[in-house]
């Protein structure tokens, strides 16, 4: 039997899961983010939280809904009858990364594996426009899509007990930044001085699902300067409208 997508499933007493095609692509992300907005607008009066991943939406009801089964019918109605409009523009954030070997612990390993220079690796990593699919794993950890195939590499066989805050890594077909120090198995190629999660700001994380990201290479000196500006509260990420 062929599955029809999206599938609307109840997940316990307080959540509804909407599953789309098992794919990872930007077109699907746009569709999911559109339905996310539709659902959020429908539930604007209630304490409801909607999150997305690559191919799912989760509606988490914090308030005392009658029961989740009556909500399923409403959600199905919303998902199956709403027309998808043309995509809206998103924001692109320019993120400084220092690819100094002090930070890029696995940069030489990666260059060796790929039989190219460290400079080539940096070039390949700063070239693409990445898409923020969602934030998960750790507060402020961006799941980025769009890594150049030439940079794909398997995770470290022995994960590091401690990866530094700001570390930029590659794991399989994904790249990302550790928002705080944590154990981790990705190959580390640099470090960004930017805070990707700050519990004292509202919102605590500036980027959101659907935003675009481009990395630019900075020297060790610039890294220290930006770190200084960040500590003084004078640094702001460069962002602009992004049109396809």
């Amino acid at each position: 039997m062929k599955k029809e997508f999206p599938e609307v499933k109840v997940m316990g007493e307080w959540a509804i899961l909407i599953e789309f095609e098992p794919e990872i692509n930007e077109k699907l992300l746009e569709k999911i983010l559109f339905f996310k907005t539709v659902i959020e607008e429908y539930y604007i009066e209630l304490k409801v939280e909607v999150i997305n991943t690559y191919n799912s939406l989760l509606i988490y009801y914090n308030s005392d809904i009658e029961d989740v089964y009556s909500e399923v019918l409403i959600v199905k109605e919303l998902v199956y009858t709403t027309n998808i409009p043309k995509k809206v523009n998103s924001l692109i954030y320019h993120i400084p990364v220092c690819y100094d070997l002090d930070f890029g612990l696995d940069l030489e390993y990666l260059a060796n594996q790929k039989k190219c220079s460290v400079l080539k690796i940096i070039h390949l990593h700063t070239q693409p426009v990445y898409t923020v699919y969602f934030i998960g794993f750790l507060p402020g950890f961006l799941y980025l899509g769009g890594l150049d195939k030439a940079l794909q590499i398997s995770r470290k066989e022995q994960p590091r007990m401690k990866v530094e805050k700001g570390a930029v890594g590659i794991g399989e077909n994904q790249t990302g930044i550790y928002p705080k120090s944590s154990p981790g198995g990705w190959q580390i190629i640099g470090n960004s001085p930017v805070d990707f999660f700050d519990k004292n700001t509202e919102p605590p994380c500036e980027l959101l699902a659907g935003d675009k990201v481009k990395f630019y290479s900075i020297s060790r000196k610039e890294f220290d300067e930006i770190s200084e500006e960040i500590s003084l509260g004078n640094f702001h990420l460069k962002k602009e409208n992004y049109e396809v």
């Binding site: 997940m11 098992p22 990872i24 939280e49 991943t53 507060p139 402020g140 999660f197 605590p204 994380c205």
Partner: protein
């Protein structure tokens, strides 16, 4: 003078918790909140506090605490042999505390997590709209020696210690856990489903606020999923057959198949289990064939 409780000894692991942190899942922030919501809420109800009041969640071995002002307290959930000034006191009743009194705990008699509620709730600091402690979000992540916990002192009279609230403690010993099918339940074979419903599982060493792992493995052929949403109460089945029950501090996304989803009541039950305790999954028959 500020009303405070001073931590003389921290015990094994205690945290301040309320009903959780809502509105920040999209930034990857866990929901957190009381592991056993029933016990925590009952403490608040007995004291006439709002149900979302901050309480102290105490795991297995309790701390030694000294009050610098008068207070009304209630201990609910696990029975960790509480004592006030070395005199044994019982759970689920209001105790009057005078300045200088010491609350301590002894041998664990039942359950895993006890809740200390205080009149007005703990007045500890809030971060991202919740007082629930979580490393990196709040200033503290567990009780440590010398720490001070703020509360609002109250004057009281002796006749208002009675409570007519009926407490159910049966669940502390309950083995059966109600579960709903998870998103990947349908991918299990008939044999795997039967095994999951008939195996008596025991709680493994890994038992914390993020997850509770079970000892017995269920061989399976499920493939990993594209990283998808998970919530407290989601039960994951790993390729090696381990069952992982995600708890209140769990991450917001995961890549293992999600085979069950616990009911709230089931989460209260599992929160009170310690190493070696047995559980039996009772798949909900009404919706299990979805």
């Amino acid at each position: 003078m500020k009303s405070e409780i001073e931590v003389l000894q921290p015990g094994l692991f205690s945290t301040i918790q309320d009903l959780g942190r809502y509105g920040f899942l999209k930034y990857g922030v866990p929901l957190s909140g009381n592991m056993d919501k029933y016990a925590a809420k009952m403490g608040s109800i007995i004291l006439n506090n709002p149900v979302d009041s901050a309480v102290l969640e105490i795991t297995q071995m309790g701390p030694k605490l000294q009050f610098n002002a008068s207070a009304k307290i209630v201990i609910t959930g696990a029975d960790l042999s509480p004592e006030i000034n070395k005199i044994s006191v019982s759970n689920n009743t209001i105790h009057l505390i005078n300045a200088g009194d010491i609350l301590s705990f002894g041998k664990r008699k039942s359950g895993c997590r006890a809740y200390l509620s205080i009149n007005g709730g703990f007045k500890t600091s809030e971060s991202l709209k919740s007082k629930s402690w979580y490393e990196g979000i709040t200033d503290f992540s567990k009780l440590t020696r010398g720490m001070k916990l703020a509360f609002e002192s109250t004057s009281f009279s002796y006749h208002d210690t009675h409570s007519a609230v009926k407490i159910n403690s049966e669940y502390l010993y309950q083995k059966e856990i109600d579960v709903f099918p998870g998103p990947e339940y349908g991918l299990l074979s008939v044999k795997e489903k039967e095994l999951l419903a008939s195996t008596e599982f025991s709680v493994d060493k890994k038992n914390n606020r993020m997850a509770i792992q079970l000892l017995e493995a269920i061989e399976n052929n499920l493939s990993p999923i594209i990283t998808g949403p998970v919530i407290p109460g989601t039960v994951q089945l790993t390729p090696s057959g381990s069952l992982i029950i995600l708890m209140r501090d769990c991450q917001t996304t995961g890549g293992y198949p999600r085979i069950f989803q616990l009911s709230d009541y089931a989460m209260n039950i599992i929160s009170q289990k310690v190493l070696g305790d047995k559980i039996l999954f009772k798949p909900d028959s009404t919706y299990i064939n979805h």
